[in-house]
Each structure stands twice: as C-alpha cells, then as structure tokens.
Amino acid sequence: MSAEIKEREPLFSAKNMKLIKNPINISNPITVQVLGICSALAVTAKLMPAIVLSISVIVVMAAANVIISLLRDGIPPRIRIIVQLVVIASLVILVDQVLKAFVYDVSKQLSVFVGLIITNCIIMGRLEAFAMSNKPWPAFLDGIGNALGYGIILVVIAFFRELLGSGTIFDFQVIPQAFYEFGYQNNGLMILPPMALITVGVIIWVQRYYTRDLIEKN
C-alpha cells in the first residue's frame, strides 16, 4: 500500500522539499550536527575558495548519494563502508582532475582541500544514514540539501573572516584606505583557525535565537 502512495508522490512534494530545507536550518550539518568542522575552519580564510569548495561538495555529495542509493540493494553490508569510500574517492578525484584541466586558477587556490572532501564526515554520514535506505531521488535531494547547508555556513564564515581579517571581499579591498590611515588594522586573529571556530559559535547562537525549536528543553 505504501509503495502505491510513494509512486504517486510528486517530485517536489512537501516531504521531499523538507529534505532540502531541513539541513539548511534545523538539521544543519555544521551548526546543529557539528560535522565537517575541520574544513569549515581550514578553507574559510577567503571567500572564493569557500565558494568553490562548497560547489564541489554539492556535486560530490549529490552524485555519491545517488550512486549509493542505486546500488543500495546489492551492497554487501559487511563492506558497505569500503564501497562508500570508493565511490566518494573516485568522485573527488574526478572533480579534482576536471578543475585542474579547465579552471586551473581555482584549482591552484583550492589545492589540497579538494582532495580533503574525501574526509568530510558529512558525506559519509549522509550515505550511511540516508542513501543506503532511500530511493535515488530523495537521496539526491538529501545530498543537495546537506551540501547546501554546509556551503551556506562556509560562505558566511568566510565572508566575515575575509572582511575582518584581510579587509577584502573576493580580494577587492572594501575597507577604505582612509580607515587604515586613521589607525584601523586588519584583525590578524580572524585569518587563523581559532576565530573560525568562534565564528561558528556565534552563528550557532544566532541560529538558536531565531529557531527556538533547537533549544533543549532542560
């Protein structure tokens, strides 16, 4: 019976849209599940690498979720983690090679961090928790949603770190030279990883202020 209902379910039903909306706010991988913190600290000193990394993660995560979801009935449970890793690693290498061939400048900027997508725990987390037990379409949406939730936080952190740490946005100086002449200085601490962590903390605080559901009852 339930199978019949599912077949009639429209592509963008309320349930499916939740797969995209929830990870952006109430089940955000970084601010609520506190996953993927390492790369959130590492690549957010500048806005551009943060954006390209977010896009790469969206591609890898959506594709990996779909592939694992398609294979889910054939994957032997005992080697499922290995299968997931092979899929992620292959996709990441593909993305890296394509970046190197066609957008060399960006690939130079991102350097090791594309390779490090493999170690992003959000991706394996979603494969294990969602794609292994859901159909390809919901798995695809779930991948996009979680990667977006991750990417948005990355971009927000990178915006503040670049603005306050280097006085630039996308490498264009936005803080007027006159400020510097009056003694304003870029905050050197902002470009170091600890401030990224504190920025994450501030984002969590702001998010909880607006989304009361997230606050624990006790």
Partner: protein, 247 residues
C-alpha cells in the same frame, strides 16, 4: 544472504570499474592539464620580470616575444647550452623542460647537475630569471626571481605552491609579499653571497646593513616562510658559480 564469494566478486568488480573510470579521465584530461602547467610556468617567469598584463591566453605569445635566450648552466657555472629564438619556439628549448626537482636532488647527492636560466629582453634591458623549487608545509613550492643585469638586484619575484594553507602560507603568492623583494640584493657590498632571508617578526629586527637582504615573513605562515627561505638559499647557491663568474 551475502556469501564470501559474492563479497569478493563485488569488491573486485567495483574496484576495476573505478580504476577504469579514473584512468580514462586522467588520460583524456592530461593534455589540458599539462598545457595549463606550462602556461602557468611561462606566466610566472614573465610576471617575475614585471611584464604587464600576462594571462593564460597570451602567455605563450608573450613568452616567445620577450624571452630571447634560454641557458642551461651546470654545477661549475659553465653554459652547457644556449637556446635562442632562432632555434625554434621558446617553450621547446631544453632549459624549459628541465625538471628542477630532479636536478636539485642530484645536487643534494653531490652529483653534477644542470639548471635553466631565462634571459628576457624588456625594453632593451636584460633581465635574468632564475626558477626556484622547494618544500613548503604541505607540499612543493616554487617560484621565479628576476635579476637585473648586475645579477644582484632583484627586479621581481613570483611564487607558486601546490597546497599551502589558504589565507596563511598560501599568501606567499600575494602581491604584498612578493613586492617586498623588489630592489633587494642577493650579494653584499663585499661581494659575499647573502641570499634573501624571510624574517619572522619583520625586517626591522635585522641590523641595518642586512635589511637589504631581508623581507617580512607572513604571520601564521611560518613553516611556509621557512620553506621559502631554504628554497631561496639552496637554489641561489646552486647558481652561485654562474652568478659569480658573470658578475
């Protein structure tokens, strides 16, 4: 439900498919990637000599326009080969294809080595360009140093890196760092080799007479800066016989 045989077959087939896919992609994309690397190398050489408006599309053309000679020098400072514009395209010369990493490795083992040197003619001024290769925090770093015809005063430098930390070590490629090198000298007034030192805490910490051989380090990028330091010293020393002979 899943027998051992099934698991082995599954794993084997999966790995073969992944391997086939990746090697196909690598082979198909290799020409594009190699071209990008070569263009990047040319761009770095030209940019260190302060040739204006170099970008990925005009690098090959400008490289052939400005570089008038490619020299291969050996450990004794002798010119092994000189490749001129009339000999063909500049990116096909022997010097351009030399793998710095291999040659510096030979040097570290005390074996004979051969290194490239580019001569640029910019508005009638002769500029010598020394390519660099070294190790940063996460991987290789490289660069180019353009010297005036006195083979002492720096016209400009560029750096590159494989995977230094964005915002920290990776800032060695940024303008604010590289422009410090302009006008600095690698020999002192007594013709003693001094290299260029990247100073943690700033050049002001050095005695006055050494400031012409130093630049400020980048905060948060200490290990990369140390790598730059070692690279400059090590590579310049490899060219020292040639530099001293020709000054």
């Amino acid at each position: 439900m899943y027998t051992n045989g099934y698991i082995f077959r599954y794993a084997a087939i999966m790995v073969i498919i992944a391997a086939a896919l990746l090697s196909t992609a690598a082979m198909l994309l290799k020409p594009f990637q190699e071209r990008n690397v070569a263009i990047d190398k040319m761009g770095g050489i030209l940019a260190s000599a302060k040739i204006p408006d170099v970008n990925a599309t005009n690098a090959i053309k400008l490289f052939n326009e400005y570089v008038k000679e490619e020299i291969v020098v050996n450990q004794d400072g002798e010119v092994v080969e000189s490749y001129l514009a009339k000999d063909g395209k500049m990116q096909e010369g022997k010097a351009f294809s030399i793998d710095m990493k291999k040659e510096l490795y030979k040097k570290s083992k005390g074996e004979p080595y051969e290194l490239p040197l580019y001569v640029i003619d910019k508005d009638g001024k002769t500029i010598y360009i020394i390519p660099f290769r070294g190790v940063g925090l996460w991987g290789p770093i490289w660069g180019n140093m353009a010297l005036n015809d006195d083979l002492n005063t720096i016209v400009g430098v560029t750096f590159g890196h494989k995977g230094e930390t964005p915002g920290l070590g990776a800032e060695i490629i940024a303008d604010f760092f590289t422009k410090q090198f302009v006008g600095k000298k690698i020999f002192d007034d007594d013709n003693q080799f001094k290299s260029i030192t990247v100073v943690k805490g700033g050049v002001q910490k050095l005695p006055e007479n050494l400031r012409i051989h130093g630049v400020d380090a980048i905060s948060g990028g200490t290990i990369t800066c140390n790598g730059v330091n070692d690279m400059l010293e090590d590579v310049l020393r490899s060219y020292l016989p040639y530099l001293q002979k020709n000054r």
